[in-house]
């Protein structure tokens, strides 16, 4: 495959741009530039703007007249309801402003879907409480279901249009936010750093063997190296399922940098790079990791995950902390609570077979 073909396929490759003008620590935050050319997109965007104004109007009403809104939807007008109204109002205004202030507000439209789900949950709760007017609550619930559908359709339309960002003359806009199968506004991007008290060559060598990564990356089950460039990754997905994809190394500078990305049509499109630098004062190696991925379950999955605290930045930071432990100590440090998923009192485990001890192996020397 030639470079040009590759960039057409992927909307421009990170590796090529790296090779062209790579500088360490450059940021990925550059805004995408895209010019939607199709009519369906324009009408979708008009819909989106409408939804934005709806959000702002509703939000203002919830903040300015919480009692009226409460009575209108048939919910008992007490202090708790008023506080909830205020919070919901703020959320509505935020997503409204977000939608109106962006040329292609796809992410913000999906925040409306998240909000809809939250509203439905609250309405469900209101329904089960005897204090409220059930008929009104039911009517409002039906209306919110309708709005949710509208939001989902708008979100999907915008998302489809965003894939690849084709311009009217057929060329592709190269942007930092596009990559292997990424949808604009979609991928989660994370950048984290850690200092490891080991020589740079050793840290590089360990990472370079991708089969080592699952030892400290909590969401990876295994990586299998297929050949010099390609590898097969198996990741953990919600509810005990797994997702698999193939990846290729797109740049490899010994003791300095490794960059990789998933092959086209992966279930979890992703790309990543890791840089290694000497820490000043003989303090070992500074490791800078940048990851971008399209989360499984699409945008709704990512949004819900985020709402419920699965924070990507924190995950990567945790992975790096475990990487440091594996490099410096040869194993991951456990406490009485960290071996359990979810909260657990700091007491010894009842049964060692029922806890998550992760890796306890010594780091191996790997052939580079």
């Amino acid at each position: 495959m030639t470079g040009t073909e590759q960039s057409l396929r992927y909307g421009g490759s990170l590796g090529e741009r790296r090779r062209a003008n790579y500088t360490p620590y450059q940021t990925y935050n550059r805004r995408y530039t895209d010019q939607p050319g199709r009519k369906v997109e324009q009408s979708t965007e008009r819909w989106a703007k409408g939804l934005g104004w709806l959000s702002i109007g509703l939000g203002l009403a919830q903040i300015a007249a919480p009692r009226k809104v409460a009575r209108l939807i048939g919910v008992n007008d007490d202090d708790e309801t008023r506080n909830t109204m205020f919070a919901l109002g703020l959320r509505e205004i935020t997503s409204g402003v977000g939608i109106l202030s962006r040329p292609r507000p796809v992410g913000w439209v999906w925040t409306r879907v998240g909000g809809d789900l939250m509203d439905l949950a609250l309405l469900g709760k209101a329904m089960s409480s005897g204090d409220n007017d059930r008929n009104r609550v039911a009517a409002v619930t039906a209306a919110v279901v309708g709005v949710t559908l509208l939001d989902v359709i708008t979100g999907q339309q915008l998302s489809k249009g965003g894939n690849g960002a084709r311009t009217s003359n057929g060329s592709r806009t190269i942007s930092r936010a596009t990559g292997p199968g990424f949808r604009i506004g979609g991928p989660i991007q994370v950048k984290e750093a850690i200092t490891i008290n080991r020589p740079r060559s050793e840290v590089y060598r360990f990472w370079h063997n991708f089969e080592n990564l699952p030892r400290f990356m909590a969401h990876l089950e295994s990586v299998q190296i297929l050949d010099e460039r390609r590898s097969r990754w198996k990741g953990k997905a919600p509810a005990g399922s797994t997702v698999e994809w193939e990846a290729e190394i797109i740049e490899d500078r010994p003791n300095e940098l490794i960059a990789w990305r998933s092959l086209p049509d992966s279930t979890v499109p992703n790309m990543g790079s890791v840089q290694f630098r000497d820490a000043p004062g003989g303090r070992g190696t500074e490791v800078l990791v940048e990851l971008r991925y399209q989360p499984p379950g699409g945008k709704i999955g990512a949004l819900i995950a985020k709402l419920f605290g699965e924070e990507p930045k924190q995950q990567v930071k945790g992975d790096l902390r475990r990487f440091k432990q594996v490099m410096e100590l040869g194993e991951i440090v456990h406490s009485d609570s960290s071996i359990h998923r979810g909260p657990h009192p700091a007491q010894p485990p009842e049964d060692l077979n029922k806890v998550e001890l992760g890796t306890t192996q010594q780091p191996q020397e790997v052939q580079s």
């Binding site: 924190q314 440090v333 009485d336 609570s337 960290s338």
Partner: protein, 391 residues
């Protein structure tokens, strides 16, 4: 095994829990003979520390006999009698190698929680909230001790538990408070707080060559111990006299050369590890929490040192930065790097320079830990330090 567990605000209970197991290759299991209640445990007791779970085993001052070791342990063996330092430290990271054991970079699996509150995470600590690791503590019959080659100190048989137990925390903590003062010949040191840590700060300042040490507290029995046992030359009861005036009088108007804050926020019932938002809230509402610290800064002579070993968890307001800047003061602080001090302080105990058991006022069996907490909190029966026997 039996263990003293945190069950909620003002409630601890001795419960039957599973025995500890080796989880990492450098772990040891210690059968505990003696363990103590620390002043900082009272913050947990009072429910001021976030990230506690009902059932957490408390206790970070303990010693006993090694009964099991993991496959990588080299320096200690089954049968050794050891004192365990309260910070859990790997010995390998840059911080440990620089002797900064209480800020070990690897020992807190819940570092992300601490980072949200403190910016970076300190080391894990036994029985001291999930933010500091979620490690089971040592007010129990057995404890798992990670990094057994780095922390535990073997102690000779001719010394009693009571003579060496406090090498786990309060003696090194008080000593580090005095050491941070960089004591010179002729120095007059003032120590705020005559609790167990304050007593050791007073005794250590004298060991390090202070000319005079002034103890400040409000409990007569504690001031009496400071004078008669720790060796303070003067005492100030802040409920009876104005501390600033008394200090000026005692130091020819200069102020103490070095000041040690061995109070922290505990005297006012504020948590060690304060929830971020709660502290922020407190900034708006409260203006006088760090009373001892502010007093120490304002009292200290020009160019002096204020050494802070009292525990602070979050944020304080009305901090007299102007005094620090304009009067060339130095502030030094830190959770004690216990591993750094255990050996040299053991030598001092062996030489008879100090017998740390002087602070003990109450001895109880582990079963009566809840009574011990109540007594220590309410300063009943002139309570200074409670040691629990787990034998």
């Amino acid at each position: 095994m039996k263990a003293n567990c945190w069950m909620g605000k003002r409630k601890v209970q001795v419960e039957e829990v599973p025995d500890p197991k080796i989880l990492n290759s450098q772990d040891a299991i210690v059968k505990i003979t003696s363990t103590a209640i620390c002043g900082s445990d009272l913050h947990l007791f009072n429910g001021f520390v976030p990230t506690m779970e009902r059932g957490d085993i408390l206790g970070h001052e303990f010693m006993g006999e090694v009964v099991e070791v993991g496959p990588s342990v080299r320096n200690i063996q089954v049968g050794d009698r050891v004192v365990v330092p309260f910070p859990i430290s790997c010995g390998t990271c840059a911080a440990c190698q620089a002797g900064l054991f209480s800020v070990c970079e690897n020992s807190n699996p819940n570092a992300w929680i601490a980072e949200k509150l403190l910016g970076h995470s300190p080391a894990g600590v036994y029985g001291y909230s999930h933010m500091l690791g979620g490690f089971a503590g040592g007010q129990a019959e057995y404890a798992r001790v990670p990094f057994a080659d780095v922390g535990p100190l073997k102690v000779p048989e001719d010394l009693t538990d009571e003579q060496v137990l406090f090498l786990s925390d309060i003696f090194p903590t008080g000593y580090m408070g005095a050491e941070m003062c960089d004591i010179q010949r002729g120095d007059v040191i003032a120590v705020w707080g005559a609790g167990p840590v304050g007593q050791f700060a007073i005794a250590s300042a004298l060991l390090l060559g202070a000319e005079r040490v002034i103890a400040i507290d409000r409990f007569k029995y504690r001031l009496q111990m400071a004078k008669e046992r720790a060796g303070a030359s003067d005492t100030i009861n802040y409920e009876e006299v104005n501390v600033q005036d008394a200090l000026l009088e005692l130091t020819g108007g200069r102020g103490p050369d070095k000041c040690i804050d061995a109070v922290g926020m505990e005297a006012h019932g504020h948590g060690v590890t304060y929830a971020y938002d709660r502290a922020k809230q407190a900034m708006m509402l409260e203006s006088d929490r760090p009373i001892a610290l502010r007093e120490a800064i304002l009292a200290c002579r020009n160019g002096g040192v204020v050494s802070v070993i009292g525990v602070y968890g979050g944020f304080i307001d009305k901090f007299p930065m102007g005094a620090i800047m304009n009067r060339s003061l130095t502030i030094r602080s830190g959770q004690c790097h216990v591993q750094r001090y255990m050996r040299p302080l053991l030598e001092r105990v062996q030489k008879g320079e100090i017998d740390p058991s002087f602070v003990i006022t109450h001895r109880l069996p582990l079963d009566q830990a809840p009574q011990g907490y109540d007594m220590f909190l309410n300063k009943e029966d002139n309570c200074e330090k409670v040691v629990l026997s787990a034998r």
